[in-house]
Amino acid sequence: MTTVATVPEGTVHPYALSHLDSLESEAVHIFREVAGEFERPVILFSGGKDSILMLHLALKAFAPAPVPFTLLHVDTGHNFPEVLEYRDRTVEKHGLRLHVASVQEYIDAGKLRERPDGTRNPLQTVPLTEAIQQLRFDAVFGGGRRDEEKARAKERVFSLRDEFSQWDPRRQRPELWQLYNGRHAPGEHVRVFPISNWTELDVWQYIEREGIELPEIYFAHEREVFNRAGMWLTAGEWGGPKDHESVETRLVRYRTVGDMSCTGAVDSDATTLEAVITEIAASRLTERGATRADDKMSEAAMEDRKREGYF
């Protein structure tokens, strides 16, 4: 009566794709578009799970040929040693070329000043922007996902940045169908987010399906941590604990991997991918809410950092 159906109900549809296959296909399409239209693309690679996923997808997109992109890591100087070790091992394994932009070098040269709270995440923007300019990258792949944060949810897959890497959310190009517009003027570049439509759970399910290796800090382990502003931070030379903070050993894992000064561990006994997936599916907190001090600064913290050229 109220339904005008042209597709008979109960019809078997053999040409279905699973959600992971759909997301994989979309991401591969994006990588190939960039390879086809840009001169000097680069993948931002931190050794975190989202950048590991990006690299895996890029490897699949161009096989059996090598990935036609180099990698860029903005090293805050406060990175987890396990993650740096993973990064170097991965670069060697796939015969890739890695550029490193060092926040520490900028601080040592007096070009950046350490913040009172010791957080180096916001300091990454300048080294990132200068590396993009100096190495003349025209497309920069980021592992940002729209489910992470509400400002990210508004960003395009192809996101145009000016010569200062700035993002203007009010002047974004509408993105229709699968037609990505990567036109840019000399000096400008395009940030590209191939896993925009993936959720945290999709990422983990895909990692499990593909058998992708991750740095061990993503799984439960004993670690010396201290509590700062409700987050379990790793004790270390970077600046913690301070006088009133006390160190204790807890069974934890990391849900996100960033700068040690603002990435919190979560209590967890999940030692396998299966256990991690079960834990995430049951979690009542978003991954950034649970683990990132930098996003708790204000309602618009991420938008403000992105406007200035952040990832």
């Binding site: 549809h13 296959d21 759909s22 979309e26 190939r32 390879a35 508004k154 517009n181 399906r209």
Partner: protein, 450 residues
């Protein structure tokens, strides 16, 4: 019988549905979206706390769920949604990508953007007001963008005492109108987003309704169909030539299948050159397969060493599209700067970008009543109009009605790269046999089927 899905070794049964919602805040869209997200557990504690905190600091008593999606400072300051917001949620049956399109600013541009990738559109109406001008505009956009499934959610049924005749009259009027525009499938559902009737759980207040709830419908609507009936299309994105010791002679054409299915052994024509060859192999991201289908990203190898590069299209030799340099299309103009007759532009179609010139803008269309305004000279932001474009090189273009992916294109400003217009080749709306047309009240005098 082994299905292609099983053949590819896929075990996961969770599918992905992209859908768009259309309607204004007054229709209860935020409440509906909020309920879908909340009841599917996709609004998490810290997000809710942040929204409650922000709502309190603005002096609001109840948490304003719009703050969940209003991700930009300007949106929160002005209390309006400016840009399409994408939301993600899942049930055990399906993963959803929701394009939540705002009803205030840049309305047409945003809904066209959201609908361009949607397989389903939810149109909301207030049961007290019935089908209004805005509802007809929503139906027209869904029809224009060829969204395969449309849901009419008749909201605020609690405010009309859950009366069946109210729902039935609105459903009848809308269904007749949307069907007259060629919308292939329309499902009307009586709901109360605020009270939760028929959103996730069946309503205890409307025994007379025997159909699915909104979520049940979203979970069961078919997301795939018989691709063998579609025109198979494969735009070449990139040529993979490793030239390594291990793969000295490998030459594969990488791309995402835009429509239909391709099989090993099939004869294909390369467009626009017209050369033919046979598919020697299909590599589906590391697995060699006999058959692949849309929207899989694959690499196709051909039996003959012929000239194929980015921007070419592979199609079955017995079902190849004609190539043309003269494009007649309906466009939605999405830029602040206008589109004028005589303007030089770039036309981006699949993986091919060519120079083009706007030869004519024969008419502009008003979506509210589908009336036509001849020879407007130019189109401005949020206008829908007919254009005639001449391209510098031939395009293998399908009618948008036959293939959304290979019938769509962008017009781009060559000077600054701005996306000017979103184009759909061929007729605006589907040809529909006369009968229902008379029931569409606003279409009486309009030449809507231009």
């Amino acid at each position: 019988m082994t299905t292609p899905t099983q053949q590819a070794g896929l075990t996961s049964t969770t599918t992905l549905l992209r859908f768009a919602t259309a309607g204004s805040v007054d229709d209860g869209k935020s409440t509906l979206v909020g309920r879908l997200l909340h009841d599917s557990k996709s609004v998490l504690t810290d997000q809710l706390e942040a929204v409650e905190h922000a709502s309190r600091s603005r002096g609001q008593e109840a948490p304003d769920l719009a703050l969940l999606t209003d991700g930009l400072r300007a949106e929160r300051e002005q209390g309006i949604t400016i840009d399409v917001a994408y939301r993600y949620f899942a049930t055990p049956a399906r993963r959803f990508i929701l394009a939540d399109t705002p009803g205030h600013v840049q309305y047409t541009r945003n809904m066209v953007t959201g609908a361009s990738t949607a397989e389903l559109a939810v149109v909301l109406v207030d049961a007290r007001n019935g089908v209004v001008e805005q509802t007809r505009r929503h139906a027209a956009v869904a029809a224009l963008l060829r969204v395969p499934h449309v849901v009419l959610a008749v909201n605020k049924m609690d405010l009309v005492e859950y009366a069946e005749p109210v729902f039935a009259a609105i459903a009848k009027e809308f269904t007749a109108y949307a069907a007259s525009l060629g919308v292939p499938e329309i499902t009307a559902i009586p709901i109360s987003a605020l009270a939760g009737d028929n959103v996730v759980e069946p309503s205890a207040n409307m025994d007379w309704y025997g159909g699915p709830t909104v979520l049940e419908h979203l979970e069961t609507v078919p997301v795939s169909h018989d691709l063998t009936a579609c025109h198979a299309r494969f735009p070449v994105q990139y040529v993979i030539r490793p030239q390594t010791a291990e793969h000295p002679d490998y030459r594969g054409y990488a791309g995402q299948i835009a429509a239909g299915a391709f099989r090993v052994g099939e004869s294909v024509t390369v467009l626009p050159s017209g050369r033919t060859s046979t598919i020697a192999g299909i590599d589906a991201l590391g697995v060699s397969v006999k058959e692949a289908w849309a929207p899989q990203s694959v690499t196709i190898r051909l039996a003959d060493d012929i000239d194929v590069s980015r921007g070419d299209l592979l199609a079955p030799t017995d079902d190849a599209p004609a190539v043309t340099q003269d494009v007649e299309a309906t466009v939605c103009h999405v830029a602040d700067q206008p589109l004028s007759v005589g303007q030089r532009v770039l036309l981006k179609h699949t993986t091919r970008t060519v120079k083009a010139i706007v030869k004519d803008i024969p008419s502009r269309l008003t979506l509210d009543d589908l009336s036509q305004h001849p020879a407007p000279g130019q189109l401005v932001a949020n206008d829908i109009g007919r254009v005639v474009v001449r391209t510098a090189e031939p395009l293998a273009l399908d009618a948008y009605a036959d293939s959304r992916r290979t019938g769509s294109f962008l017009l781009i400003d060559p000077a600054d790269g701005t996306t000017l217009s979103a184009g759909m080749a061929g007729a605006s709306f589907a040809e529909v046999a006369g009968a229902v047309r008379d029931e569409a009240p606003a279409a009486d005098d309009a030449e809507w089927d231009f």
